[in-house]
Amino acid sequence: MNLTLRIWRQKDSSAKGKMVDYKVTDISEHMSFLEMMDVLNEQLVNSGEEPVAFDHDCREGICGMCSLYINGEAHGPDRGITTCQLHMRMFKDGDTITIEPWRAAAFPVIKDLIVDRMAFERIQQAGGYISVNTSGNTQDANSLPISKHAADEAMDAATCIGCGACVASCKNSSAMLFVGAKVSQYALLPQGQVEAADRVRNMVAQMDLEGFGNCTNTGACEVECPKGISLDNIARMNREFLKANVKG
């Protein structure tokens, strides 16, 4: 198929960006969206132009590196996937596709379609861990039984890939689904209890400091999340936060 791509081009974080149109031809419906971008870039390199910079790596839907706002949706029109898993069979010959970077003040553009997601790193550093020495001299793993239900629920929360689609699709640019998932994972496990109150307070404080907005229960984040992280995690984070502050 032949397509018109409207792509956000921006030289660096201080430059002004603009939409630029490109044509690509002979795109196979079996290609992934990123492979289609490869075709465009090969074309640009061959004609002596600078290729479009975009983030990507594993191309298996797990590293969380790929982003892209496609036709107004994070990771494009399909559900439960990252951009690398989006296939061109979702589009039609002659389509015009609009491709933009994640839109959020806390994710400044680095170049073209690449944004800086370091805010997520700093939130994790504020408390997204269990303070255990890495010596290996811990108790035997089976001396701490965990119900299958709790382990499965913690796993569902831990499945978050940190891509930022939740932030990008939220009208308030809220990071609550991401932070909620991390807080939930540890809140559901016995290992995480000791520092639970400090963890949620510190992570929430860092989240606010980074300039993410608040949750107004619109639910767009859950819809666009490639890993189906549930809004329940936000509710759990709020409960944990309240509990932490009531306890003092």
Binding site: D12, S28, S32, D38, E42, L44, V45, G48, P51, A53, D55, D57, C58, R59, E60, G61, I62, C63, G64, M65, G80, Q85, H87, R89, I110, K111, D116, R117, M118, F120, E121, Q124, Q125, Y129, I130, V132, N133, T134, S135, G136, Q139, D140, A141, N142, P145, I146, S147, K148, A151, D152, A154, M155, A158, T159, I161, G162, Q185, L189, Q191, G192
Partner: protein, 670 residues
């Protein structure tokens, strides 16, 4: 230089304990004055960085991604082995050691593998303490499953996302140390060379990938943990950015490169569908626990399927060839990866492949769904369940075990694998070869260490499933933190290493000159053009099976591609900005040298062995007829190559392998 493996004396089961009791320690107050650089922050680098920081050293960690959480370790699906014997099925440290040495076709170092088995249990304890949500059974205890090449259930898992969860565990341990200021994290930085002072590794030159700035970083020791070189094939299961540059650069600065030809071809990947394809997607080997692999028994059925005239469900049970179960009754669908891959290729080469390209076999879950369905009906007291009910109940169980893998398959192939068998084909996956290291994980350059997939040490000629994660974490959490201390105990009076020295000047100049060359070269062809060309030679002549003639041709062809690359490569943009084409150019330049050494090593090894199948070396008769033939008399050694300029001029050093605790035997999975 003669190779000294520095394996400690004494009985194998006591080596590591005795060694740890005798090494020098660094006083905690002195650790604060010692800097360590860790390049790469996947499972090996991440766990090493966190642990070294925990011990008190100042760690500088480097990753080309925006976050350590994106390292390709994250994509490992199936699980991690540990000899916990929780299942009571006869597992032990010795058995894990034995399975790994045998699975690696007796080309690994016994002492290293035994140590790996010894610390495997600790890894699980450590990860659970960090909050890794491993699968649990209904009693709240850890669940296990089994993997190819073994007869016990020793694999711990977190759905089909074990690598992700283990990496996030190591990453969280890193975050704790970053918050404490003990790890200085350099995201979006790429190491472009190592700096040696007085023969010792004392720093690196790195490029800030956002600004293009070339930076000098010094340390008392440098640890390379940058993963494998499977992308030398262009198409592989590795992430797009996975590269060999750090490893190749240290090779050029004196670190020997061992067994480059030992590359694993993973049997269960989604087949390639066209020339535009950028990478291959692996489906976890754990699927072989429940999936049965087959092709049509009749050639005419296979042809009809290839032409789209028949569907797999049209083929009667009696007309299917479950070739692994037929050839290897003891291990069946769970034979090791090299055996499963070769068997698939053999059937496809004979014309029995099941997709349009003829390069695919079926992985079928119908009988597992039925088996689980009947079991569930009994559990739920459903008498005389209909076939549909059985299917529905069974599907739920399969979904719980492999749901995300099935979803991934469906998204890529656009077929529902619950209804129709998956198609799979072997693809380049993990590299067992890598930088040569001694028992301390030190390379042939003093103070330069190499851990995880980037080194050669533990998997021999073939890696068993669920062992990569084990080695990465063992090296990072539990081995390197001890061995590096012994070395650094001599550095407590050294003081800060300055970066304004002639050694740093010189290496920085080399790095900058190369970047300038790429930016200014007036070539006509893109970097990917050369990478794809290299990949084709590698797959055709240095791929799943190799012969002397093809390898000789490959060496010459790769050399020619390299020469053309340096004349014709074109890199748009400038050096002082985010420039992905420039990053790729440097990496492909290194692959173009590594590829030739790879072929040279494969040519030298005139035996079939694990991931290296030489067509000239096959069993001609007896029970093992047609199987790969190893040659222990002439090739029971590690081939460690010393850099001498052109890859073709590399000099071979042999580390003879001694097997004192395990008898060298023909591998049989029959």
């Amino acid at each position: 230089m003669a190779l000294d493996s520095k394996v400690p004396e004494g009985p194998i089961k006591d080596k590591w304990t005795n060694y740890k009791n005798k090494i020098n320690l660094v006083n905690p107050a002195n650790k604060r004055h010692i800097d360590i650089i860790v390049v790469g922050t996947g499972l090996a680098g991440g766990s090493a960085a966190a642990t070294l920081a925990e011990l008190g050293y100042n760690v500088k960690a480097f990753a080309y991604q925006d976050s350590p959480r994106r390292a390709h370790s994250i994509a490992a699906q199936g699980g991690i082995n540990a000899a916990k014997n929780y299942q009571g099925d006869g597992d032990s440290n010795y058995r894990l050691f034995y399975d790994t040495v045998k699975g690696g076709d007796y080309r690994s170092r016994e002492a290293n593998v035994h140590r790996l088995a010894e610390v495997s249990g600790n890894i699980i304890d450590q990860c659970v303490a960090q909050g890794v949500p491993f699968a649990r059974d209904y009693g709240g205890l850890l669940d296990n499953r089994s993997f190819g090449g073994v007869l016990v259930s020793r694999t711990f898992y977190a759905k089909g996302q074990t690598g992700q969860q283990l990496l996030l565990g190591a990453y969280s341990a890193m975050n704790r140390q970053i918050a404490r200021g003990k790890i200085e994290m350099f995201n979006r930085h790429e190491m472009l060379d190592v700096v040696k002072i007085g023969g010792k590794a004392r720093g690196i030159i790195a490029r800030n990938l956002i600004t293009g700035e070339i930076e000098r970083h010094s340390a008392h020791a440098v640890v390379i943990a940058t993963g494998g070189y499977g992308n030398v094939y262009f198409l592989s299961t590795n992430a797009m950015g996975s590269n060999a540059t750090a490893a190749w650069k240290i090779h050029k600065k004196g670190a020997y490169f061992a067994n480059p030809c030992f590359t694993q071809i993973h049997p269960t990947c989604i087949p390639r569908s066209g020339d535009y394809q950028s990478k291959l997607t692996l489906m976890s080997e754990s699927l072989r626990n429940d999936g049965r692999i087959w092709v049509p028994a009749k050639l005419e059925d296979a042809k009809a399927i290839q032409q789209g005239k028949l569907k797999p469900t049209d083929i009667a049970e009696a007309d299917r060839d479950y070739y692994l179960e037929r050839r290897y009754p003891a291990f069946g669908n769970l034979v090791p990866r090299d055996v499963a891959s070769r068997a698939a290729k053999e059937r496809c080469d004979a014309g029995y492949g099941v997709n349009a390209t003829g390069e695919a076999v079926y992985l079928d879950f119908a009988s597992a769904i039925e088996r689980y369905g009947i079991e569930q009906a009994k559990i739920h007291n459903i008498s005389n369940p209909s076939a549909d009910k059985i299917y529905e109940l069974g599907q739920k169980i399969v979904e719980a075990k492999y749901g995300n893998l099935f979803q991934m398959y469906e998204k890529i192939v656009d077929e529902n694998p619950y209804k129709t068998p998956m198609m799979i084909y072997p693809a380049t996956h993990y590299t067992m070869g890598g930088i040569w290291v001694d028992y301390n994980l030190m390379t042939t350059v003093e103070g330069l260490y190499c851990i995880g997939e980037a080194n050669f040490s533990d998997h021999g000629a073939n890696r068993l499933g669920a062992s990569a994660l084990m080695q990465g974490l063992a090296d990072g959490y539990f081995v390197l933190p001890y061995t590096i201390g012994d070395y650094l105990s001599h550095d407590i009076r050294t003081g800060k290493i300055p970066t304004d020295t002639p050694e740093f000047d010189e290496v920085e100049k080399e790095v900058k000159d190369r970047i300038d060359f790429f930016i200014n070269n007036k070539g006509t062809k893109s970097v990917d053009y050369f990478h794809k060309k290299l990949g084709k030679v590698m797959w055709d002549k240095v791929g799943m099976s190799r012969n002397a003639q093809g390898l000789t041709e490959a060496m010459a062809e790769i050399k020619a591609i390299r020469e053309e690359f340096w004349k014709e490569v074109k890199v748009p943009g400038s050096a002082n900005e985010l420039n992905p084409e420039l990053e790729k150019a440097g990496r492909v330049a290194d692959f173009l040298e590594l590829g030739e050494l790879f072929a040279k090593d494969a040519l030298n090894r005139a035996e079939s062995c694990g991931g290296h199948f030489r067509e000239e070396s096959v069993e001609l008769d007896g029970e093992q007829k047609g199987e790969a033939k190893r040659d222990d008399v002439n090739f029971a050694y590690v081939a460690a190559w010393e850099y001498k300029g052109e890859p073709a001029d590399a000099v071979l050093h042999k580390e003879e392998l001694e097997f004192k605790d395990i008898e060298l035997k023909q591998r049989s999975y029959k």
